[in-house]
Amino acid sequence: MRTFRTISNLSKPSGRDRIPETTFAYLQTKSQMQAFTLVWSEFKKSGISQSDLAGRLGKGTDRVCKLLAAPGNWTLDTITELLFAINGGVLTHAVAHPLDPQDLSAKPVPSTSRENSYVAPLKMAA
C-alpha cells in the first residue's frame, strides 16, 4: 500500500553528499510539531491555566497564549522552561532512525483517549 509520508522518500545521509534543504525543512517542522505536542500534552495533564503558567515563567499571559497557539522554532531554552514550569518536567533526548527498517522507536504511539494521552517521540524524564 502506498504511503504519502515524506520520510519514505528520503535517503540516508552518505559520504559528503549535500542534504537537500527541503529535507531539513521537513524534518525541522516535524520536530517543531512534536515539541509542540509534547508541551501541550504536559500542559493538559497538569490542569494549570495559561495564566498560572505565565506567572511561573514571569511572562505576560498574552505572551504565553501566543506561544502555545502554534508550534515554532522554539529554542531548547524555551522548551526547557515550559516543561519545568508546567509540572517540573525535564526534557530528555532520544534519537530515532526512521530510515532503518527495523527502528520502531520512530513510530508515534497511537492514542485513542480524549484526555490527550498521545506521547510524542521526545521523551520526558520521570
Binding site: 500500500m1 502506498r2 504511503t3 504519502f4 509520508r5 515524506t6 522518500n9 537537500p20 534543504e21 527541503t22 529535507t23 525543512a25 521537513y26 524534518l27 525541522q28 517542522t29 516535524k30 510539531m33 512534536q34 509542540f36 505536542t37 501541550w40 500534552s41 497564549c65 501566543k66 502555545l68 497557539a69 502554534a70 508550534p71 515554532g72 522554532n73 513510530k107 508515534p108 497511537p110 492514542s111 485513542t112 483517549s113 480524549r114 484526555e115 490527550n116 494521552s117 498521545y118 510524542a120
Partner: protein, 165 residues
C-alpha cells in the same frame, strides 16, 4: 459516494493506510500530485516540504490548535474554519516560511479529514471566494450530494489533542 468508495475508486488517496492512530487524512488528486510531489529545491519546495510535515503531524495525532471564527482568529492557529461556516470547510495553515501555504478541506468523520485543494498563501489574496468555491467544487465532484461531517462543537470533529484558540 462515500469516502471508502472514493478511496477504492482511486479518486482520493489514503495518506497512510497503515497508520495506527485514530486520525485519517485523505488526499485529493490535486493535493497528492501537487503538494506531495517531490519538492523542488527552492523556496516553494521548502514551503511544500514544511506543509507536508504539518499534515503528517495531524495523522500522527499531533496537537492541533483550531480557530473557530474565520474573522477573529489567532494568526498562528494550525487549523481554522473558513467562511462560510455552514460549508464546513477548514484549512490547514502552514505558516513557515511566510507567506506559507493553505490546504483546504473538510472532515468526513470525527478525526478524519480530506484535503481537497491547496495553494500558496499569496494566491489567496483578493481571491478567497474563488479558492473556497474551488474547494466546494472539489467536494461535490468527489462526494456528490453527501455533506461534510459537521457538529455543534469542536469535539465533534476532533476527539483528542486539540484546543480552540
Amino acid at each position: 459516494m462515500s469516502i471508502s468508495d472514493s478511496v477504492s475508486s482511486g479518486k482520493v488517496f489514503d495518506f497512510d493506510p497503515v497508520s495506527e492512530t485514530p486520525r485519517k487524512l485523505y488526499l485529493s488528486e490535486e493535493v497528492a500530485s501537487g503538494l506531495f510531489a517531490p519538492p523542488t529545491q527552492d523556496l516553494d519546495g521548502i514551503r511544500r516540504a514544511r506543509a507536508q510535515a504539518v499534515l503528517e503531524d495531524f495523522v500522527d495525532g499531533g496537537f492541533v490548535t483550531v480557530a473557530e471564527d474565520p474573522f477573529d482568529k489567532d494568526r498562528k492557529a494550525i487549523m481554522a474554519r473558513v467562511s462560510r461556516i455552514e460549508w464546513e470547510i477548514f484549512d490547514f495553515r502552514c505558516l513557515d516560511p511566510e507567506p506559507g501555504i493553505r490546504v483546504l478541506g473538510c472532515f468526513v468523520a470525527i478525526d478524519e479529514f480530506v484535503a481537497l485543494t491547496w495553494d500558496y498563501r499569496e494566491e489567496f489574496d483578493g481571491s478567497w471566494p474563488e479558492q473556497v468555491e474551488r474547494c466546494r467544487s472539489s467536494w461535490s465532484e468527489l462526494f456528490g450530494s453527501v455533506l461534510p461531517h459537521s457538529g455543534a462543537q469542536l469535539d465533534a470533529y476532533l476527539s483528542y489533542n486539540f484546543e480552540s484558540v
